[in-house]
Amino acid sequence: MTQEFILETRGLTKEFRGFTAVDDVNLQVRDGHIHALIGPNGAGKTTVFNLLTKFLPPTRGEILYRGKPITSMKANEIARLGLVRSFQISAVFAHMTAMENVRVALQRKLGTSFHFWKSEKSLDHLNDRALELLEEVGLREYADVLTVEMPYGRKRALEVATTLALEPTLMLLDEPTQGMGAEDVDRIVELIRRVSKGRTVLMVEHNLSVVSRLCDRITVLARGSVLAEGDYQEVSRNPLVREAYMGSDAAEEEEASA
């Protein structure tokens, strides 16, 4: 069993009423890497992502986490193994404060989450840890702010803090910089770099400059299949990728600017 791969898929396939969205994908994510999943619109990135996080059941194929099959597990169960996902649209609990957002993630380990007869004061001892996590993503001063009132970039950072609360071994990020201004993008890139220490990250990302700055390895999807895999240099030189993904003009520009 190949333990160097933390996450692996074998022949992963998803069909929707005869349309094959994901076709025989073999993906291997190395322990400790920041791995990107890129591809043009409709390439099946989000579908692959939803299959990996168990938000969709695969039609065929296997998913292995540290060599063990997790194909038939439920979405909430893999979270307990340490695979925690984020969402394309910032997934926060809007009418809770930033600290409460993080605390909800922390409280699961207490095992009192079904205790409807206990006071919520019994959660207060988690506050310090929650504040630490907020500090880590630079949101300390937002602790008491209702999330709905926070700017978009900060919500994404809060999402990262909430994810970190679970001490994930593998973070799955769905387009973490989507819809952000340049300044926020830089902040999130730095944040991902910082929190990826000692962890593995698999991310779907559109923004190629983010991918080139962050990722150790890139898998390019097109029409539901793997088109190419390698580091940024290899992938960006691959003519198939240029044609399918960037369009040859865009690829040249990219090279010229690099």
């Binding site: 984020s86 969402f87 926060v92 409280q107 206990k118 919520e120 679970l166």
Partner: protein
């Protein structure tokens, strides 16, 4: 908790809010204690029973985000079970009868919940409605419910075998105690570790899943709690009116509790109380007036106005105003 812990502004605010809330509770309980000397106790008991019913419903809609259209089934099941037990076993004390009725509603709620909880939105509402209609027809056909006539002459009995409840005043204080207990359970549930997860699920269900929570199980607990408390309301109502009838099982009743909750303010602790008070008062007042036949029309009109102009209900709007002006 350590005494040296420093208070963040949020904790200070929470503490103040708690203090204000507790003061409000004390004032309300004081009012409730003197109320039967001012108003007709039977009317007050009716309000309290429906208020508990609406509060139970609100726990599900307002805090778990689940719209059940079959809550009449739990009210009626509680009512019939209590009625049958108290009528058949003269030695049984009323509090035990109510307990049995409540447990029956819990069992039914578990059964309904398991079947319905996987469905979302309108499908959830449809499944609960269908199951409740099933119960309605069961109550018509079953040999022990009195069919269309209902169960009459349920004895009120003696509380703990000591205090006779035939007097409306003692009955009132008993009903008040039941209401306070039910309300306290809801208030604690909302402000518990479980309540936090429930809130998170309502706010963003996929995210709650990705944090490792089995959301269906949390929703089921909310459903069963809500069903049990609705059953408690129904059981108590049967003892008060010495009657369990099909009115409680009819889908009108499921609709009425939605009306009460939305009118008062869904997702607020006091909203259902205000809504139930308003609806029951209107029904009682209008029934005695020449407009008696127009009760449904007038309630419908009020509902439309409420939905169009103040969506968060009476208590919800008041809270908004207070927050805006006294921040």
């Amino acid at each position: 908790m350590s005494a040296t812990q420093t208070l963040t502004p949020a904790m200070q605010r929470q503490r103040n809010a708690r203090l204000r809330r507790n003061t409000l509770y004390l004032v309300l309980i004081a009012i409730a204690l003197v109320a039967p000397f001012v108003a007709y106790p039977v009317f007050l008991m009716k309000v309290l029973c429906f208020a508990l019913f609406a509060c139970a419903f609100n726990l599900l809609l307002g805090y778990a985000g689940l719209l059940s259209f079959g809550h009449a089934a739990f009210l009626a099941t509680g009512g019939y079970f209590t009625g049958i037990m108290l009528a058949s076993y003269p030695g049984l004390t009323p509090e035990l009868g109510i307990l049995i009725g409540t447990l029956a509603a819990v069992v039914l709620g578990t059964f309904f919940g398991v079947l319905a909880i996987r469905r979302q939105g309108i499908y959830f509402a449809m499944v609960t409605l269908a199951l409740a209609q099933l119960m309605f027809f069961f109550f018509i056909q079953a040999p022990f419910t009195g069919g269309e006539d209902g169960l009459h002459g349920v004895p009120r009995g003696e509380l703990f075998g000591l205090i006779s409840l035939s007097d409306n005043l003692s009955m009132y204080y008993f009903v008040l105690a039941v209401f306070v207990i039910g309300f306290a359970i809801i208030q604690r549930t909302v402000h518990s570790p479980y309540g936090q997860v429930l809130k998170a699920i309502r706010e963003n269900e996929p995210r709650a899943v990705s944090l490792g929570y089995n959301v269906d199980a949390y929703k089921l607990v909310a459903f069963v709690l809500s069903a049990g408390l609705a059953g408690l309301a129904g059981s108590t109502k049967t003892v008060v009116f010495q009657l369990a009838s099909l009115t409680d099982a009819h889908w009108h009743m499921s609709g009425e509790v939605i009306l009460m909750t939305l009118l008062g303010g869904v997702g607020t602790l006091f909203g259902p109380l205000v809504g139930a008070g308003l609806v029951v008062s209107l029904q009682t007042q209008l029934a005695q007036s020449p407009l008696g036949n127009w009760v449904s029309v007038i309630l419908g009109l009020i509902f439309v106005i409420c939905v169009l102009s103040f969506r968060s209900g009476i208590v919800g709007e008041v809270q908004k105003m207070v927050r805006k002006n006294f921040k």
